[in-house]
């Protein structure tokens, strides 16, 4: 792909999965402000999951499988498909290694059918704002136009994030939900859990994934580092339990779950892990959530009785 050709792109497509949720709402606004029309794949549904099982590498984790399915859905829908190479979204931290090869895998899988547009996102080297500026200039847009688009994109992301429930100090007796942003924001995966919690009248929050920086801890993966940081600052008096929502075969979670378990054991906060896969068994999920919430309720009454 030569540099001059790129300005010919009139439309950009992107899968609504994985990295898309790391910067919620940002990329659409960026490309739209530059005057490109944007096609984002439809929200995950049953068909997406089925397609994922058919076309994706069987040993991938669920979010990566869904990414492949979403990608398959938007190939050919626009002049170019955008997939950034996410190496880090937080300074002094790194992203999951699987995100580093995404554009190359997309080229390997769909390179014959569509050009792939990519940009490195590495907060250790430059801010995502600067990454957007570079992407704009690579696409052949004027500096001022790119700058305005990047600013609009960042503020759009901020508004989107402010609309989400995050760890705020005012709440009492809440459950902390730990999950990667791409699980949290994918309603198909996370909505049954949140729906169940709401139905049980339970207050729940999740860590602030939009934070600029955190103290350097033992966990170097960005989202997991934020979760770890949130757990360290957790007040046992306020937070009654932690629910870790993980996707099947998530490599990062397989390690950090053990670390979190040890940490929360010391803090005396109950911890439950829920692993979600592409199979549709929601009854088990409901039962486990009910049992967890109930036993925490009993814990309080028993403590008071003693």
């Amino acid at each position: 792909m030569s540099g001059s050709k790129r300005t010919d792109y009139r439309s950009v497509a992107m899968p609504r999965a994985l990295w898309y949720h790391l910067y919620p709402g940002m990329w659409e606004v960026f490309f739209r402000s530059l005057g490109l029309s944007v096609v984002v794949s439809a929200k995950t549904d049953r068909a997406t999951v089925e397609r994922a099982a058919l076309i994706s590498e069987p040993e991938h984790c669920l979010p990566l499988k869904l990414h492949d399915a979403h990608l398959h859905g938007v190939v050919g829908a626009a002049d170019v498909v955008f997939i950034p190479r996410v190496l880090s979204t937080l300074t002094e931290h790194i992203a999951c290694p699987k995100l580093g090869s995404l554009p190359d895998c997309a080229v390997a899988q769909f390179g014959d059918e569509t050009p792939i547009l990519t940009i490195d996102i590495d907060e250790n080297k430059r801010s995502v704002h600067r990454s957007m500026l570079e992407l704009g200039s690579e696409l052949g847009f004027r500096r001022n136009a790119t700058r305005a688009a990047a600013a609009a994109a960042l503020s759009a992301m901020k508004t989107e994030r402010n609309g989400l429930k995050t760890c705020i100090d005012r709440e009492d007796d809440y459950f902390l939900i730990l999950a990667h942003p791409y699980i949290l924001h994918d309603a198909y995966v996370s909505a049954p859990v949140f729906g169940k919690l709401d139905a049980m009248n339970v207050k729940w929050l999740f860590p602030d994934y939009g934070c600029e920086s955190i103290e350097s801890g033992p966990i170097k993966w960005d989202a997991c580092g934020i979760m770890h940081d949130a757990l360290l600052r957790l007040d046992a008096g306020r937070c009654v339990g932690v629910i870790h929502l993980s996707a099947f075969n998530c490599g990062c979670d397989s390690i950090v779950m053990e670390v979190f378990r040890g940490l929360l054991w010391e803090k005396n906060i109950p911890y439950m892990t829920l692993v979600i896969d592409e199979h549709e068994g929601r009854a088990g999920l409901d039962t486990r959530l009910e049992a967890f919430v109930d036993s925490i309720g009993w814990r309080n009454t028993l403590d008071n009785a003693v």
Partner: protein, 370 residues
């Protein structure tokens, strides 16, 4: 009476365990290791580990648990600074050991300051330490040399098992070799010993490259002895994880070597433009090298769910179609059936043989260089 030495356990990393054992002698500790995991050890590890951790982690954790049970005081574990899960293995293993009430302390083999913590703790004198390092390096290179001869001979041997016997003899001698001179003597004897094995002279065996994750490539229990199975089926293998070459990458020397990071990066660039982590880049680069070098096929070996290796599988598939290179993807976990592995490898070798008879005949006069 001589004071009993404290013991130091480290990962069972194939035949390199012999060389690694030599490297810790200067620390005034007794090495505690094996050249391969055992079923009992793996069982221990599986019981203690998180269920979706990779097979290498489970095997290694089991190894440390076994060591702790036998009262070994110290352990040492690589802690990389990369993106792979390996970075957290030491921390997690230490936690799992402590939770079970074991006293074994695991040192990280990495830099945090000037000296690695292991060296700082034992504080060996520089003279013997350097001598030990030189000796360990010589042993690693000798292991590589022995294995290369074994891969070559096993595919051609007339009597099944001759090569493995000679291989074990050589490794035994190498283990006993204490001085550089002895190591050199063993090294010089290797070609002579392997030449004595009766072979089919005119055979042109299949050439198969083994790529993938380092621990599974090298631990013959974890990979179900893939080298011997393929060798027994008359295929010459080349295992692309060579510690002798990898050492140069670890210490960041030798930019121009055939296996240097820099060379691999350039080789893989048309397909992969990022390091990813682990040995993913190496797998992609070596697959391309195999395709160009006239290999009949490659086997991609990794633990199930290995983060870096699995993430480049779509790329390997693309290379396979683009460059007409058969790729067999083998993932291993604790449930992998040995017979299943043998059947898959047999089928793969059959297909490769059929390709030879049906396809173009260039394989007859090819020159393979690695």
């Amino acid at each position: 009476m001589k004071k009993k030495l404290k013991r130091l356990a480290f990962e069972p990393w194939g035949n390199y365990a012999i060389a690694l054992a030599a490297s810790v002698q200067c620390l005034n500790v007794e090495p505690w290791t094996r050249t391969a995991t055992t079923p009992e050890v793996l069982e221990l590890g599986v019981a203690a580990s998180p269920d979706s951790a990779c097979l290498s982690f489970k095997a290694c954790t089991g190894h440390f648990l076994e060591a702790a049970r036998e009262g070994v005081e110290y352990g040492v574990m690589v802690n990389s600074v990369g993106t792979c899960r390996l970075r957290y293995y030491r921390m997690l293993q230490q936690q799992l050991l402590e939770e079970r009430g074991f006293k074994l302390f695991i040192f990280g083999l990495g830099y945090d300051g000037i000296k690695p913590p292991l060296i700082r703790h034992f504080d060996p004198r520089p003279g013997p330490f350097l001598k030990c390092c030189v000796r360990a390096r010589a042993k690693v290179l000798a292991v590589d040399a022995i294995e290369k001869y074994a891969w070559h001979t096993r595919a051609r041997e007339l009597h099944r098992g001759d090569t493995t016997r000679v291989l074990n003899e050589c490794l035994g001698d190498l283990e006993r070799a204490d001085s550089l001179l002895d190591i050199r003597r063993v090294k010089e004897s290797i070609p002579v010993r392997f030449k004595k094995i009766a072979v089919k002279k005119d055979a042109i065996p299949l050439k198969i490259g083994l790529l993938g994750e380092a621990t599974v490539l090298r631990n013959r229990f974890l990979n179900h002895n893939i080298e011997e199975i393929l060798g027994g089926l008359g295929a010459e293998v080349f295992n692309f994880f060579l510690l002798g070459e990898e050492m140069k990458n670890i210490f960041g020397i030798g930019m121009w070597g055939r296996h240097s990071r820099w060379t691999l990066k350039r080789l893989a660039a048309p397909y992969l433009k990022s390091l990813v982590g682990g040995h993913a880049l190496d797998s992609v680069a070596n697959a391309i090298r195999c395709a160009r070098g006239g290999y009949d096929g490659v086997v991609h070996v990794c633990p199930t769910g290995c983060m870096p290796e699995i993430s480049v599988r779509p790329i390997l598939r693309k290379i396979s179609t683009d460059m007409d290179l058969p790729v067999l993807e083998c993932s291993f976990d604790e449930h992998t059936s040995h017979l299943g592995v043998i059947t898959r490898l047999e089928a793969f070798v059959d297909i490769l043989n059929a390709r030879r008879t049906r396809g173009n005949q260039t394989w007859k006069n090819r020159v393979i260089s690695v």
